[in-house]
C-alpha cells in the first residue's frame, strides 16, 4: 500500500468539515465543563450535607466510568424517557459532564488556595456570602487554575473522536466514512493522527504561555 498524495487532496475537504465539528464540540464541551465543574465544586462545599455528599458521589461515579458508555447512555437511554437529543448535543453534554467532574477538582484546589485571611476580611467588611464569592474568592481563585483547566480542555479535545460512536460527523467519523468508501485506510487515519498531533503540539505552546502568564501569581 503506497501513500497517495492525490487521494490526500481529494479527501481533504471532507476532513476539514470534520475538523470544524471537532473544534465546535471541544469549545462547547469546554464551556459546559467549566460551568458544571464550578457547580460541582460549589455544591461540594455547601453546608447542606445531603447535597454535598450526593454531588460528591455522583461526581466520583462519573469520573470512574468510561466516557464512551456515558455517551451511549445519554444518546440511547434518554430517548426512552422522552428526551431525544441530536447527536452533537448529546456529545457535548457527555463531554461537559465527564470533564466537569475533573474541572471540579481544579476549582476545589483553586478555592482552597485562597488564603483564609481573604475570607475573614470579607466577613469583616460585612459582605454577604454571595458578594464574598463573586467579588473576593472567585476573582482570586480563577487565574492560577487557568493552566490546569486548559490542560483538561486539551484532554477533552483528544477524546472527541469518541463522539463518532454516537454518529456525530466529526473528524474521525468523516475519516472512517472516507476510508470505507474508497477502501483506503492509511491516508485518512494518518491524517487524523497528524491533525491531532499538530493541534496538541500547538496547545502545548499555548499552555506554557498560560502557565507563564497566570500560573505564578501566588508565588
Amino acid at each position: 500500500m503506497e501513500w497517495d498524495w492525490d487521494f490526500v487532496w481529494q479527501i481533504m475537504p471532507t476532513l476539514i468539515q470534520g475538523v470544524k465539528i471537532t473544534i465546535l464540540a471541544t469549545l462547547l464541551g469546554s464551556v459546559l465543563a467549566a460551568i458544571v465543574g464550578l457547580g460541582i465544586a460549589l455544591a461540594r462545599r455547601s453546608p447542606n450535607k445531603a447535597l454535598s455528599r450526593t454531588v460528591g458521589w455522583a461526581a466520583e461515579f462519573i469520573r470512574g466510568t468510561p466516557l464512551l458508555v456515558q455517551l451511549y447512555f445519554i444518546f440511547y437511554v434518554l430517548p426512552d424517557i422522552g428526551i431525544l437529543l441530536p447527536p452533537l448535543v448529546a456529545g457535548v453534554i457527555g463531554l461537559g459532564l465527564h470533564y466537569g467532574t475533573y474541572t471540579a477538582e481544579v476549582y476545589r484546589a483553586g478555592i482552597d488556595n485562597v488564603p483564609r485571611g481573604q475570607w475573614e476580611a470579607a466577613k469583616a467588611c460585612n459582605l454577604s456570602a454571595r458578594q464574598t464569592w463573586t467579588h473576593i474568592i472567585i476573582p482570586q481563585a480563577i487565574p492560577p487554575m487557568i493552566p490546569a483547566l486548559a490542560n483538561y480542555f486539551i484532554a477533552m479535545f483528544k477524546e472527541t473522536p469518541l463522539l463518532s460512536a454516537i454518529t456525530v460527523l466529526e473528524l474521525m467519523n468523516q475519516a472512517k466514512s472516507v476510508a470505507n468508501t474508497y477502501y483506503r485506510y492509511i491516508e485518512p487515519i494518518t491524517l487524523v493522527g497528524a491533525f491531532f498531533l499538530a493541534i496538541s503540539l500547538c496547545s502545548v505552546v499555548l499552555l506554557r504561555w498560560l502557565e507563564r502568564r497566570y500560573g505564578k501569581i501566588e508565588r
Binding site: G64, Y76, L197
Partner: protein, 219 residues
Amino acid sequence: MTQWSGYLGLILQGALVTIELTLMGSVLALIMAFLAGMGRLSRFFALRALATAYIEFFRGTSIFVQLFFAYFVLPLIGLELTPLQAGVLALGLNVGAYAAEVVRGAVQSIGREQHEACIALNLGRWQGLRHVILPQAFLVMLPTFGNNAIELLKATSVVSLISLADLTFQAQVVRAQTGNTMVPFATILVIYFVLALLISWGVRSLERRMARGLDGVRV
C-alpha cells in the same frame, strides 16, 4: 420476560475481557513508563530525544486514533494484529506515555542529598538507582499510577469499536437482542465503577505496604 441470567453471563464474559485488557495494558504501560521515563533522564541525547518523541507522540494523538491506526493501518504495512493485541498495544503505549512523565517527575523529586549519598557510598549509577532512588521514587509514583490505571480501564471501552467483545460491546449486543437500553448500560456503568474502586483500593493498600519502613524518610 427476558432471560436476564443468560444476558448477565454475556456481560460477565465482557467484564473478563475488560479485566484482561486492563491487566495486560497496565503491564505494557508500566514497562514503557519506566523505559521512557528513565530515557528522558538519560545522559545520552539520542535516548532523551527518542523518549521525548515517544511521549509527545502518544500523548499528543488521541487513544482512539492510535487504536484505529494499530487495527486498520498496521495490517496494510504487513503487521497483522488481532483486536486484543491491537487493544493492548494502543492502550499500553498510550497510558505508558502519560505514566513516563510520572516516573520522570518522581525520580526528579528525590532530593539531591540522596544522589550525593549514593556517590559517597561509592554506589554505581545502577546500584544507586536500584537500591536508593527507585524504592523512594516508586512510592511517589504509586498514587498517580493508580489514577493512570483507572484511565486505562476507562479507555478499554474504546476497543469495543474494533469489534473486541468487552463490557461495552456486550452491552450493545444485549441491547440489540432485548431492545432494552437502560438495563445493560446501567449494569456496565456500575461494573466499571466497581472495577475503578477496586483499583484505587488496591493501589492504596499497596502504598501502605510499600511505605512500611520508610517512616521518617519521606515527609
